[in-house]
C-alpha cells in the first residue's frame, strides 16, 4: 500500500542544511494500522506530509499503491489524493464557509459527483459520527470534538485506500479525544482502510498494528510489518466497538 524508500528531507536553515529525515525506509501493508511516534521535532509531520504527497522529498521516494510520488506533478498528486487518500488534521481544517454537510461532501464533489448522490451518504456518515442534529451547522457553531467528527466523516466519504492523521486528538481533551479515536478505528475497520497515525499519545499508538518510532529523523524502532489484518489489532478494535455500544 505505502512504501517509503530511503526518504530524506533536508531544509536549508540559514547557511547550514538541516536534515529532518534521514534515509527512512519502511512499507505498510494494506488494511493495517500504523502509528508513527517520536518526540516533538523528530520529523513525524514531515514524514506524513511526504507520504501523502503534500511535500517533495530531497531524495528517496514514496510509492503509494505502486505510484511513485516523485515523478508526479502537483495536479497528478491532487488526483492521487482525491482517489486514494483521506486526511484527519490536528486542527480539523474544516472550510469555515461551508456547512458540516457541505464540508463532508467536498471530496466526492471534486470527483464530479452530483449533490443528490453524495448528500445521502454524507448525511449517513454524519449520523454515524453522532452529528445527526448538526448537519447544517457551520464549523463556528460546532465544538472542537464535533468539528473533528465532521473531519472524520469527510475523511471517509470517498472510501480512501489510506488515511493519514496527524495528531488527530492533539487539540482535544482526553475524553473527547478517546471518543474520536473510537470513531476513527470503527470507521477504519468498516471501510477496510489503511491507517497511518502520527501521535505522541502512547495509548493511541498501542491500539495500532504497528508502531514506528522516529528519533532525530531516523527510524529508531519499528515493531515490524504486521500481517494482513492482524488478529490482536482486530481484536482490539472489536473490543472497542463493543465497548462503545455498551456506552451509548
Amino acid at each position: 500500500m505505502l512504501r517509503v524508500e530511503d526518504l530524506t528531507k533536508t531544509y536549508q536553515s540559514g547557511d547550514r542544511p538541516l536534515t529532518v529525515l534521514d534515509r527512512v525506509t519502511f512499507e505498510i501493508e494494506p488494511g493495517t494500522s500504523c502509528a508513527i511516534v517520536g518526540p516533538s521535532g523528530s520529523g513525524k509531520t514531515t514524514l506524513l506530509g511526504l507520504c501523502a504527497g503534500l511535500d517533495r522529498a530531497t531524495s528517496g521516494d514514496v510509492y503509494l499503491k505502486d505510484h511513485s510520488l516523485r515523478i508526479l506533478d502537483e495536479d497528478a498528486l491532487a488526483v492521487i489524493r482525491n482517489r486514494h487518500i483521506g486526511f484527519v488534521f490536528q486542527s480539523f481544517q474544516l472550510i469555515p464557509t461551508l456547512t458540516a454537510l457541505e464540508n463532508v461532501m467536498v471530496p466526492m464533489e471534486l470527483r464530479g459527483a452530483g449533490y443528490e448522490e453524495v448528500s445521502a451518504r454524507a448525511e449517513r456518515l454524519l449520523v454515524e459520527v453522532g452529528l445527526a442534529g448538526r448537519i447544517h451547522h457551520y464549523p463556528t457553531q460546532l465544538s472542537g470534538g464535533e468539528q473533528q467528527r465532521v473531519g472524520m466523516a469527510r475523511a471517509f466519504i470517498h472510501e480512501p485506500d489510506i488515511l493519514f492523521a496527524d495528531e488527530p486528538t492533539g487539540n482535544l481533551d482526553e475524553e473527547t479525544g478517546s471518543q474520536i479515536e473510537e470513531i476513527l478505528f470503527d470507521l477504519n475497520q468498516k471501510e477496510g482502510t489503511t491507517l497511518v497515525i502520527v501521535t505522541h499519545d502512547p495509548e493511541l499508538a498501542a491500539q495500532c498494528d504497528r508502531i514506528i518510532r522516529l528519533k532525530g529523523g531516523r527510524v529508531a524502532t519499528d515493531s515490524g510489518p504486521a500481517a494482513g489484518s492482524a488478529a490482536p489489532a482486530g481484536f482490539n478494535r472489536n473490543s472497542r466497538s463493543a465497548k462503545k455500544m455498551v456506552d451509548s
Binding site: T45, L48, G49, A52, L54, D55, E74, D75, A78, V79, I80, R81, N82, R83, I85, F87, F89, Q90, S91, Q93, L94, I95, P96, T97, L98, E102, V106, P107, E109, L110, R111, G112, Y138, P139, T140, Q141, R154, D166
Partner: protein, 860 residues
C-alpha cells in the same frame, strides 16, 4: 477545456461566498466611485453629442456663415448676391458702451461686444429675451438688447438707455440666450444686439476698431440643391476662392458642429482622465483587499488541495469570486453613474449653449462597466495567481503565507507588463490616442509610486517615533495601524491621491490668479486705452492726468500686410502646395509697433535687436524683430527678407532678430516689431497704458474718455481679472468635482480595509475589554488610529501637491510660491473628519457585541 471552471468550482465559489456577501461586496467597493465617474462623464458626453446633433442648425442659427474683417469687396458682394437664399448680415465689434440706469445717477461704461444685425437672424432657434419677443422688434424700433449679467449688475431696467459710439438706444429687452452661445460668452464682455443701420451711425467703424462683417444664409425648400452638408461645403469653398487673398471665415453647420464636438470631446476626455485616476486607485484598493483575502483563505485553499482539488480548481473558485466582485462593483458604479449623470450638467450650465437632452447611453454604460470589470480584474490577477503557490502542507504545518512572495519574478513581470498594456489599451480607446494614453498611464503609475513611497516613508517615521511619553491609548492606536496584514500604505496612497489632486488643482488655480495679479500690481498698468487716433492722443492724456492717473506707455500701432517673402509674392506662396508657411501668418493683418528698445516682456533668442533705421524711401532694408512663434509659422530665419504693404507703401525689411515675447503681460506686445525711424509718418493709432489710483477713478476716467471719444476702447484689468477668476472657478469646480471621486474611492477602500480586518479588530477590542479596558478607552484607541491614518494621508497628499505647486511656480509660472496654507489645512481637516466618520460607521457594532459571542467567531 482548462480555462472553463468545472461544476465543483462554481458550486464551491458560490457556497464560500454565500456567508460573506456583505464583506465581499465591500472589498469590490473601491471601483464603484471610479466607474460611476466614468459612466457619468461618458454619458454626459453622449448627451451633449446627441443634443448637438439634434440642434445642429440652432448652434449656428443658419446654414452658412461667412465673416471677413473688412467690408466686402465687389467680387465677394457679387458672390453673396448670386448665392441667394434667405440672408441676414451683421457687423460685430468691441466698443465701449455707456449704460445709463434710471435708478442711479452714475453712468457706467464697459467694453462690450456689439452685434449690429440686419435681417431675420437667427434663422434657426431664437434669441431668448425678457420680455419675450423683444428680439422680433428691435430692428424696426431701433432699440437694443442687452446681456442679462450686465443688466443685473448695474440694476438696468427695460426702458433704460445705452450709448454706443454717438448713438443713444433704448433697452428693449434683456438677452437670456443667443443660439450657439453659452452663458460663459458674457465673461468676455456684455453682449449687445442693435440694428445694423445704427452701427454705421455710431462713427465707430472707420476708426481703427477691429470689425467683423458677417453674412448668414438659409437655404429653404426653394434651393433643393443646397440641402446637403456637402453642397453647402462646396459653396463654402467657392466663397473662400473668391477672397483668395484675405481671411474669409466660413462656417457651415457641419464645421460648427465639429468645432463644438472637439471642445466637448477634449473637456470630457480630460475629466474622464481625472475619473480614471479614481478607478485606478479603486482597483489598487481592490487588489490590496484581494491580497489580504487570499492570504486569509490560504488554509482553505490548502485544505481543498489536500482533499484533491487541482490548482486549477482552487484558482477558478477564487477567480470566479473575484470576477463576480468586479462585476458587482462595476454594476453598482454604473448605476451610481447614471444617477450622477442627471446632475452633472449643473456643473456646465454656463458652458453649454443649449439645454441638454438626457438619456441613458448604452455604449457609455457598457464602456464604463467593462472598463471597471477589466481594470479591477487586471489588478487582482497577481494576488490571485499566488493561489497556485499555496502548498497543501499548510494544513499540517501552520506558517504564515504571504501571497506575492511565492510568485516567480518572471510571472510578476509578465502580469505587470500585461496590466500596464491593458490600461493603455483601455485608455487609448477612451481617449482615441495611444500617445496620450501612454503618457497618462506612465504619469499615473509614477505618481502612485511616488505617493506610495512617500506614504511608506511617513508610515515608517510614525512607527519609529518613540512615543513613550504618550498615553497608552495613543500608543495602542498608532500600533493598530501596523497590525499584521494592515493596508495602511494603500489607504494612505488612495486617500493621499485625492488630496494631491484637489490640492494641486487648487494651487495651480491660485497661481494663475496670483500671476495675473502680480502683473497688475506695483507699477504695472491697470487700465489700457486703445484704438486712439493720432488727433485724440493729446486729449486723452490730458483727461488721464487730470484724474491723477499716471501715463506709463504710449504705444503706436501701424497695420500692414505681408506682400512678399524673400522676393516671392505671398499670393504665389499660398498657391504652392509644398509651402511650409501657415496661411494665417501669410494673410493676417499685422499690427506692428516701433520702438528704440525692447521692453521687459521681450528677450532676444537669435540675432541682434537694432533700435533705429532709416525712413521709408531711403532705400535701406529695415531690420525687424519677429516673435519666435511667428518666425516658425512663416518658416523664416535670420536675414530672410520680408516685404510689407503699409497701407499701399511697400517697405523692405529683413529679420534682424528673433524674440521671445511674454504675451501674458497686460502691456501691448507685438509679434512683429519695427525699429524707430521708419513708421513715424505712416497712418497709425495708439494704445496708452496707465495706472489709475483706484477703481472709482478707473470708472470715471473711462467714462469721460468714452464721452469725448466714443471709438476708443478701454480694458479695465481689474474687471478682466474678475472675469478670469469667474471662469477659472467654474472650470476648477468641474475638475475638483471629478477629483472628489478619488477621495470617495479612498474612503470606500478604507471601509473595505476595516471590513477585512474586522475579525482582528473585534478580537483586539474583546481582549482589551476582557483585561478591563472601558468602552471609552477602546473608542479612544480607534479615534487615534483613524486620526493618524487620515493625517498621514493628508500629509502625503498635501506634501506632494506643495512640491508639485512649487515646481509649477518655479518652472512654469515664474512666481515666488506662496501656498494658501489655510485652504489646504481646511481641506485636510475635512478629509480627516471623513476618515474618522467612515471608521466609526464600520466599527459601531463591535462595541455592542458581548465578548462571549465574539470569542466563538472564527477567523472569517
Amino acid at each position: 477545456m482548462p480555462l472553463i471552471p468545472d461544476l465543483f468550482s462554481f458550486k464551491t465559489a458560490w457556497r464560500d461566498a454565500r456567508t460573506q456577501f456583505r464583506s465581499l461586496l465591500l472589498y469590490s467597493g473601491g471601483i464603484v466611485a471610479g466607474v460611476a465617474a466614468l459612466v457619468a462623464i461618458l454619458s454626459f458626453r453622449s448627451d451633449v453629442m446627441l443634443t448637438v446633433n439634434d440642434q445642429a442648425r440652432e448652434l449656428l442659427g443658419a446654414d452658412l456663415e461667412i465673416s471677413l474683417n473688412e467690408p466686402y469687396g465687389d467680387s465677394l458682394t457679387a458672390w453673396v448676391d448670386s448665392v441667394g437664399g434667405e440672408q441676414a448680415r451683421s457687423i460685430e465689434f468691441s466698443s465701449m458702451v455707456l449704460y445709463r440706469s434710471s435708478n442711479s445717477d452714475d453712468d457706467a461704461t464697459r467694453l462690450s461686444q456689439i452685434r449690429a444685425i440686419d435681417g431675420a437672424f437667427p434663422f434657426y432657434g431664437e434669441i431668448k429675451t425678457e420680455p419675450s419677443g423683444a428680439a422680433m422688434n428691435y430692428q424696426e424700433e431701433r432699440t437694443a438688447l442687452v446681456d442679462r449679467p450686465i443688466m443685473n449688475q448695474l440694476g438696468l431696467q427695460v426702458g433704460d438707455s445705452i450709448r454706443v459710439g454717438t448713438e443713444w438706444l433704448e433697452i428693449a429687452g434683456m438677452i437670456l440666450e443667443v443660439p450657439g452661445e453659452s452663458a460663459a460668452f458674457s465673461l468676455i464682455g456684455p453682449r449687445i444686439i442693435i440694428p445694423e443701420e445704427v452701427a454705421s451711425g455710431t462713427g465707430l467703424l472707420d476708426r481703427g476698431s477691429r470689425v467683423q462683417y458677417k453674412t448668414w444664409f438659409r437655404f429653404g425648400p426653394d434651393r433643393p440643391e443646397l440641402q446637403s452638408d456637402e453642397a453647402v461645403e462646396e459653396l463654402a469653398s467657392e466663397a473662400r476662392e473668391r477672397v483668395s487673398d484675405r481671411r474669409l471665415g466660413v462656417t457651415t453647420v457641419a464645421s460648427r458642429m465639429d468645432d463644438f464636438s472637439r471642445i466637448v470631446d477634449n473637456l470630457t476626455k480630460f475629466l474622464g482622465m481625472v475619473g480614471f485616476i479614481a478607478l485606478m486607485l479603486g482597483a489598487l484598493g481592490v487588489a490590496s483587499a484581494v491580497y489580504v483575502y487570499i492570504k486569509r483563505k490560504s488554509i482553505t485553499v490548502a485544505t481543498l488541495r489536500c482533499l484533491g482539488a487541482s490548482s486549477r480548481q482552487t484558482l477558478h473558485i477564487f477567480g470566479l469570486q473575484i470576477a463576480g466582485l468586479g462585476f458587482a462593483g462595476a454594476l453598482a458604479g454604473s448605476l451610481l453613474g447614471l444617477i450622477i449623470q442627471r446632475f452633472l450638467p449643473l456643473l456646465f450650465t454656463d458652458f453649454l449653449p443649449f439645454e441638454l437632452v438626457q438619456q441613458v447611453s448604452v455604449p457609455a454604460l457598457m464602456l464604463g462597466f467593462l472598463t471597471g470589470v477589466a481594470v479591477s480584474f487586471a489588478f487582482a490577477v497577481l494576488p490571485l495567481l499566488s493561489i497556485n503557490n499555496i502548498s497543501p502542507l499548510l494544513t499540517i504545518r501552520s506558517t504564515d503565507f504571504s501571497p506575492l512572495a511565492h510568485v516567480p519574478k518572471r510571472i510578476k513581470a509578465t502580469v505587470g507588463v500585461g496590466v500596464i498594456l491593458l490600461l493603455i489599451a483601455i485608455l487609448a480607446l477612451l481617449l482615441e490616442s495611444i500617445a496620450v494614453a501612454v503618457l497618462f498611464v506612465g504619469g499615473l503609475i509614477a505618481s502612485i509610486l511616488i505617493l506610495m513611497g512617500t506614504s511608506v516613508l511617513l508610515i515608517r517615521l510614525a512607527r519609529s517615533m518613540r512615543l513613550r511619553s504618550f498615553s497608552y491609548i495613543w500608543r495602542q492606536g498608532i500600533a493598530n495601524m501596523f497590525r499584521p496584514n494592515n493596508q495602511t500604505a494603500v489607504l494612505v496612497t488612495t486617500l493621499g491621491m485625492g488630496m494631491l489632486l484637489i490640492g494641486s488643482m487648487y494651487l495651480s488655480q491660485e497661481m494663475i490668479l496670483q500671476r495675473i495679479d502680480l502683473q497688475t500690481g506695483g507699477n504695472q498698468p491697470n487700465l489700457v486705452f486703445y484704438d486712439i487716433q493720432t488727433d485724440q492722443r493729446e486729449d486723452i492724456i490730458e483727461i488721464a492726468e487730470s484724474h491723477d492717473t499716471q501715463i506709463l506707455e504710449q504705444v503706436p500701432i501701424v497695420s500692414m500686410r505681408l506682400s512678399r517673402l524673400n522676393d516671392r509674392p505671398v499670393r504665389e506662396i499660398r498657391e504652392d502646395t509644398t509651402r511650409q508657411a501657415g496661411n494665417w501668418a501669410l494673410t493676417r493683418e499685422y499690427r506692428v509697433s516701433y520702438r528704440d528698445e525692447l521692453n521687459e516682456a521681450e528677450t532676444i533668442r537669435e540675432g541682434e535687436w537694432i533700435g533705429r533705421s532709416e525712413g521709408i524711401g531711403s532705400g535701406v532694408t529695415v531690420p525687424v524683430s519677429l516673435d519666435h512663434r511667428l518666425a516658425d509659422d512663416l518658416n523664416v530665419e535670420l536675414n530672410d527678407r520680408l516685404t510689407f504693404d503699409v497701407q499701399g507703401v511697400p517697405v523692405e525689411t529683413y529679420v534682424a532678430s528673433i524674440r521671445e515675447v511674454d504675451f501674458q503681460r497686460p502691456q501691448p506686445n507685438f509679434f512683429l516689431l519695427f525699429p524707430s525711424g521708419v513708421l513715424e509718418q505712416a497712418p497709425q493709432f495708439f494704445a496708452v497704458t496707465m495706472r489709475s489710483p483706484d477703481e472709482l477713478t478707473t470708472a470715471q476716467l473711462q467714462q469721460e474718455v468714452v464721452q469725448a471719444h466714443p471709438n476708443v476702447s478701454a480694458i479695465d484689468i481689474g474687471l478682466v481679472l474678475e472675469s478670469v477668476q469667474t471662469f477659472l472657478d467654474k472650470v476648477a469646480m468641474a475638475v475638483q468635482f471629478m477629483a472628489l471621486f478619488s477621495i470617495l474611492t479612498g474612503l470606500i477602500v478604507l471601509a473595505s480595509a476595516i471590513a477585512i480586518s474586522r475579525f482582528q479588530r473585534i478580537r483586539e477590542s474583546v481582549l482589551l475589554r476582557t483585561i478591563g479596558a472601558s468602552r471609552r478607552q477602546i473608542r479612544g484607541i480607534q479615534v487615534v488610529e483613524y486620526l493618524w491614518l487620515g493625517t498621514l494621508a493628508c500629509l502625503t497628499g498635501v506634501l506632494l501637491s506643495l512640491i508639485a505647486g512649487w515646481l509649477l511656480a518655479y518652472f512654469y509660472f515664474d512666481l515666488v510660491f506662496v501656498p494658501d496654507v489655510p485652504a489646504l489645512v481646511v481641506a485636510s481637516l475635512i478629509v480627516i473628519a471623513l476618515t474618522l466618520a467612515v471608521g466609526f460607521l464600520n466599527m459601531r457594532n463591535i462595541l455592542h457585541k458581548s465578548p462571549l459571542e465574539i470569542l466563538r467567531l472564527n477567523a472569517e
